[in-house]
Symmetry: C2
Subunit: 304 residues, 2 copies
């Protein structure tokens, strides 16, 4: 398993007994990310057995309550749980001032370091990178400054093609690290065996794009092109297209159009308005444009 997304909440606006605001937990190449953190997210994490301690990076799309009112509670809980490791928080400018004021008023100075990465750019930028994974912003268009996030595995090294290698008894185990590093092998008779013959192509790097909240915006297509999984908000159905435009949200049809034009493999939809009682209608509308649609639902896991 390279990439697994767990939906913790997928409804818009106000938390209800059985509908939780946006939060997602993403495991990608053994990196553990939290994306958005609506009120009650820590309860949802406990309910769906997401390990608190694994998360070192939290990405907040925008400062509307249904996307971040659970953040200060989670930060406080980490303090109570005696966390020591750094916690990195990526989000719009203001998130640091607010968090520090909350901690000051409660006199609960977190003993662990919190590193804020405040975002202000309107262009896509690389905000996290290590040897396995990178994360870039996807500038969205909503009523407040909002970013989506693109999570990408890095290209892996080619793998040893043991069957082919064994056809050359002269190649020894101690040569393997040269082969893994991409080198060709020269036999004692001078023959050069190309690295491609001795190795297999690695699995295709996986990618996930999280886009919430936004009006229909084709500018994002080049950034999310060909991703394996796209989450795109669908607050409304097409019956409320003008309301979607006015409140800077998208319809299920529009999300599907973006998925189609960006040639993504699968589309997850969510952020449903509470006015719709039958969530299946979102899937039905989206599938008229794009077939590979998954309905977000709290507790649902999507593996690639």
């Amino acid at each position: 398993m390279n990439l697994e997304l767990t939906i913790l909440g997928c409804h818009s606006a106000t938390p209800r007994v059985n509908s939780h605001p946006t939060a997602q937990y993403l495991e990608i190449n053994n990196r553990h990310f939290l994306i958005d953190c609506g009120e009650g997210t820590q309860r949802q994490m406990r309910k769906y057995k997401v390990g608190f301690s694994k998360i070192n990076h939290i990405f907040i799309s925008h400062l509307h309550g249904d996307h971040f009112f659970g953040l200060i509670g989670l930060i406080s809980t980490y303090g109570i749980l005696n966390r020591e490791r750094e916690l990195h928080i990526y989000g719009p400018k203001g998130i640091k001032e607010l968090t520090l004021l909350q901690l000051k008023l409660s006199q609960s100075h977190a003993k662990y370091p919190i590193i804020f990465h405040e975002l202000t750019s309107k262009k896509s930028e690389l905000i996290f990178e290590d040897k396995m994974v990178s994360v870039s912003t996807i500038p969205l268009s909503h009523r407040v400054y909002t970013n989506g996030f693109l999570f990408k595995e890095k290209e892996k090294a080619r793998k040893l093609h043991i069957e082919n290698i064994q056809q050359y008894p002269e190649i020894e185990t101690c040569d393997y690290h040269h082969i893994k590093a991409g080198k060709d092998i020269t036999l004692t008779n001078g023959e050069v065996i190309k690295n491609k013959e001795l190795t297999l192509a690695p699995a295709q790097p996986k990618s996930y794009a999280f886009c919430s909240d936004t009006v229909y915006k084709e500018d994002i297509i080049p950034i999310i092109k060909n991703v394996d999984l796209l989450y795109h908000e669908t607050t409304f159905l097409s019956d409320n297209e003008s309301l979607a435009k006015k409140t800077k949200h998208a319809t299920a049809k529009q999300a599907a159009q973006i998925a189609l034009k960006a040639n993504v493999k699968q589309l997850v939809i969510g952020h449903y308005s509470s006015r719709y009682k039958d969530i299946q209608l979102f899937k039905k509308e989206a599938q008229e444009i794009f077939s590979q649609v998954i309905l977000a639902d709290a507790g649902k896991k999507i593996s690639i």
Copy 2:
């Protein structure tokens, strides 16, 4: 029913799947108050069918997360629900700055007026009063500035004693408002009928004292003397008495001692530490000192 308390959450520190931080809904003489508002309170209000729109006054004891991290979510939800009526918030200094910063960052200016009553006094003070009810602070001793709240019905007018009145055919219905107003009646023969003979004493005014969080503090006894219902936190059992003192909390035994010394009618306990799996132990310990003990539990209603 004069007074009904609904427990929305009664656990300390961090929200868990089945244990919610402090929040209580109090109905007293048709006034509807929310007391503390931990994360997830609005979800608990929906679960236990507490009408959002009835509440015009919210009392926050202190600025630890388990007592107020749900407040901004509720304030935002009122905005989404198009509230127009004033909302009064009583709580420690800082609550206004924090709330206004949260609203500014989310660019969701509440369309209804929010009136902050910031508390700084270390002495009990009257903070709300109308013709039916009064609310005063109960200064507590915790790690941060904390108040409990004393809710009291006002003395009602005496009621007509119809049976006695009818013994005097000369007294007419149009005299009743004089009798209700406390006046004696003079018959045409000059005989004076005392008001006490023509009226019945009203029901005794009811009172509720909410005390959370605090170390054992006898100073509160004169303020809460003889109340019908006392909520007193019991984070710990006596096995952790020194930890209770260190963290400025109380044990079940100490809460019962306060109840006994203040001569209250009933004691509700809560704010249990998650280290205790069997909540009944709190009741058992308290009842060794004071018999009328109720265990707080989410959804429980206590009527007087």
